[in-house]
């Protein structure tokens, strides 16, 4: 079926299933160029910034060159002309950005709420619900939503959001729970208010895990957004389905390549964000 990078089924119970074990990451950790002597080694090295974009650019150039020399039949020509590729790409990015935004404003506050005293008991229930959201096959979920909400971008977006809430939610909860209770007691002990403890201590310390969840969700969203076409939501999925139904390999190829490149690009951006936003002081070891 359609290529869905990062959307392979994962163990929902395992909070560590986030993107932290990706290859480029481990490679990056071996890379810190500056020795211990430098007090604050640079986190964003030039390798991290340049390698992946260069590879992706090469892939795009190769694809473009191939399409330049290929002679396409009218059907393919039709599917790719009139800026339809650009439109599909724009729609796809739109879907990803909007859905991620909603995922964040739903999942992070919910995660925070579910680790507060009285609501802690609700956590298993909500997690079970989020699990169902992700366990349901995305395409089935989308079909149901279209029946319910009608064809259009709205149904597609809702589907994507439901699908991606889980990783952010579970990582937020896991991140907040992983905080050392004695540290939180120390925070209260020196006179921080509950809100102060959350904002100044709990959240900053949970940032690495939360960001890892966000990164997973982003990549997931790029993949799931290809399905939006079935609900009339547009996106790169349009190219892919057109390619399949009309048996036109070039169209299918272009749709797939653009999706993969977009997913990898988003993942790369998220990895940079993780590096920049993780609080200093957590990474240093004496």
């Amino acid at each position: 079926m359609t290529p869905m990078p990062g959307a392979e089924p994962r163990e929902p119970e395992d909070p560590a299933f986030d993107g932290t074990l990706r290859e480029e990451d481990t490679a990056g950790q071996e890379a810190p160029a500056s020795p211990v002597a430098a007090r604050q080694p640079r986190r964003v090295t030039w390798q991290k910034v340049t390698v992946l974009p260069a590879v992706l650019a090469a892939v795009l150039v190769a694809t473009w060159l191939w399409f330049e020399q290929a002679d396409l039949d009218p059907l393919s020509e039709n599917a790719l002309s009139n800026g339809q590729v650009g439109k599909a790409l724009r729609q796809h990015i739109e879907l990803t950005v909007i859905s991620t935004f909603f995922v964040l404003i739903i999942a992070i506050p919910l995660g925070i709420l579910l680790t507060r005293g009285a609501f802690r008991k609700g956590a298993p229930v909500v997690m079970a619900l989020a699990n169902t959201g992700q366990a349901t096959p995305a395409i089935g979920l989308l079909a149901l939503l279209v029946i319910w909400m009608g064809i259009g971008e709205k149904a597609a977006l809702t589907g994507i959001v439901i699908y991606a809430v889980l990783p952010v939610l579970s990582n937020t909860i896991a991140g907040l729970r992983a905080n050392d209770p004695t540290l939180l007691e120390a925070a209260r002990g020196i006179g921080m208010s509950p809100l102060g403890v959350l904002v100044k201590v709990e959240l900053p310390l949970a940032v690495p895990l939360i960001l890892a969840g966000v990164r997973t969700a982003l990549v997931l969203n790029v993949g799931t957004a290809t399905l939006a076409t079935f609900g009339g939501g547009g996106g790169l999925g349009v190219l892919i389905t057109t390619g399949i139904t009309n048996q036109r390999m070039p169209v299918l190829m272009l749709g797939s390549i653009l999706t993969v490149v977009l997913a990898l690009l988003v993942d790369w951006l998220a990895s940079l964000a993780e590096l920049v936003l993780s609080p200093r002081g957590l990474e240093v070891r004496s």
Binding site: T182, G189, G191, P204, L282, R285, S286
Partner: protein
């Protein structure tokens, strides 16, 4: 609050303080009564699980008491806003409790910022606190906790607890996680700090030696935080209230007692001395005249130099440079009797010279003088403790009488 005059301690009063966890029959802390004087260092010591930490955490209401009152400086704080209370009470815990994502300076600045100090004052205070706990502000200011050693982290933890100049400092096994040598240093530092600051410190530990070293008074707690004995270290060592306390004091109470007395408190013996400038004839005369076999030869600045015995000079053919044995160990007046005993035991002739601040000779302690003073000391302790116990018993009986009367009075009313 002025910036120069530091706030000194406040009294703490625990009045029938009780903690009962839901679902368990026995209370975790059962009706603790205690009065802690301003500027006093009180140590809670007891086996693990005896409720000492719980009792401590009830003072700043990290654990809310089920019943009973807490008064700090006479003010009842049992029902005030706990956040406000905690900002006035310093709190330091094991393995420092520093926030790893904040620099040392940010950690220390937390409480002053929360109570609304101005920026300039906060940053001045941070430098001052780092200096106070013996860390170079320039070097440590911008470091993260994970870049520090355990001992350094603990110092920063204490600096953070003291940053807003609270009258009361609660310490929950603060030195439990550092190695013995560092712990020793940190204890010395705390003693020095307390000499300067005179805070009221409540300190929890399970290490009785730490308790003896740091405490003005020690509360030995048994299960449910019952106070087995609440007294000075001397009294607990020489006269433990019951088997539980003596079990906790452990073997060698008399040896531990030696840690509490300094050389300056005991009588020193005197040996005849000569200086290197004295003529040889005088030295010969003194040796012959003195009852002992020995002379202490002092150098030009009156520091102990050599032990001279009868016959040493003959063997060295009258040369002072070759005669006698060099003094290899001395103790100061501030050394504990334990240190002195150690020196006496390792000395081949069983005596050691005591020196003053500039190393000048003051006297000698030997086995005999040490024994005598220790005996006297222990005897005096015993008498003190007996007297003290009488007083306590009287107080207690008065209190029970009072309570009975009070109780019946209420019943009648």
């Amino acid at each position: 609050m002025s910036e120069t005059a530091a706030t000194t301690g406040a009294t703490i009063e625990l009045d029938h303080l009780t903690k009962r966890y839901p679902g368990s029959g026995e209370p975790a802390v059962d009706s603790v009564n205690m009065e802690i004087q301003a500027g006093e260092t009180v140590i809670f010591v007891g086996p693990s699980g005896c409720g000492k930490s719980t009792t401590l955490k009830m003072i700043n209401r990290l654990i809310e008491p089920t019943s009973g009152r807490i008064r700090i400086n006479g003010e009842d704080v049992t029902d005030i806003d706990p956040v406000k209370l905690r900002r006035k009470v310093g709190y330091a815990i094991q393995s420092s409790g520093l926030f790893p994502h904040m620099t040392v300076a940010q950690n220390i600045a937390l409480v002053p910022k929360m109570i609304g100090w101005r920026k300039a004052r906060v940053s001045a205070r941070v430098e001052e606190m780092l200096d106070l706990v013996g860390l170079d502000p320039g070097e440590f200011h911008g470091r993260y906790p994970r870049q520090l050693s355990g001992g350094q982290q603990q110092r920063v933890g204490v600096a953070r607890a003291l940053a807003a100049d609270p009258p009361v400092l609660l310490m929950d096994e603060p030195f439990g996680a550092v190695d013995p040598i560092t712990r020793d240093h940190l204890q010395d530092e705390l003693i020095r700090l307390q000499h300067e600051l005179h805070k009221t410190i409540v300190f929890v530990t399970h290490d009785f030696d730490e308790a003896i070293k740091l405490g003005d008074r020690i509360a030995v707690l048994r299960e449910r935080s019952h106070i087995a004995q609440f007294d000075t270290p001397e009294a607990i060592l020489t006269n433990p209230a019951d088997d539980f306390v003596s079990g906790f004091v452990g073997a060698g109470a008399a040896l531990k007692r030696l840690n509490l007395t300094r050389v300056r408190d005991v009588e020193m013996a005197d040996v005849p001395t000569v200086t290197v400038d004295d003529p040889l004839q005088l030295i010969f005369d003194k040796l012959r005249a003195s009852g002992t076999n020995e002379l202490l030869l002092l150098d030009k600045r009156h520091r102990p130099y050599k032990w001279l015995r009868r016959g040493d000079l003959m063997r060295a053919r009258g040369s002072l440079a070759r005669a006698g044995t060099l003094v290899h160990d001395t103790v100061t007046r501030d050394a504990t009797l334990r240190d002195a005993l150690e020196a006496v035991l390792t000395d081949n002739a069983g005596r050691v010279a005591v020196t003053g601040r500039r190393g000048e000779y003051l006297g000698v302690v030997d086995m005999e003088t040490l024994m005598n003073s220790v005996h006297e000391m222990l005897e005096a302790d015993r008498l003190d403790a007996l007297e003290h116990q009488h007083e306590l018993e009287e107080q207690r009986s008065q209190l029970t009488r009072h309570e009975q009367e009070g109780g019946s009075g209420e019943a009648r009313a």
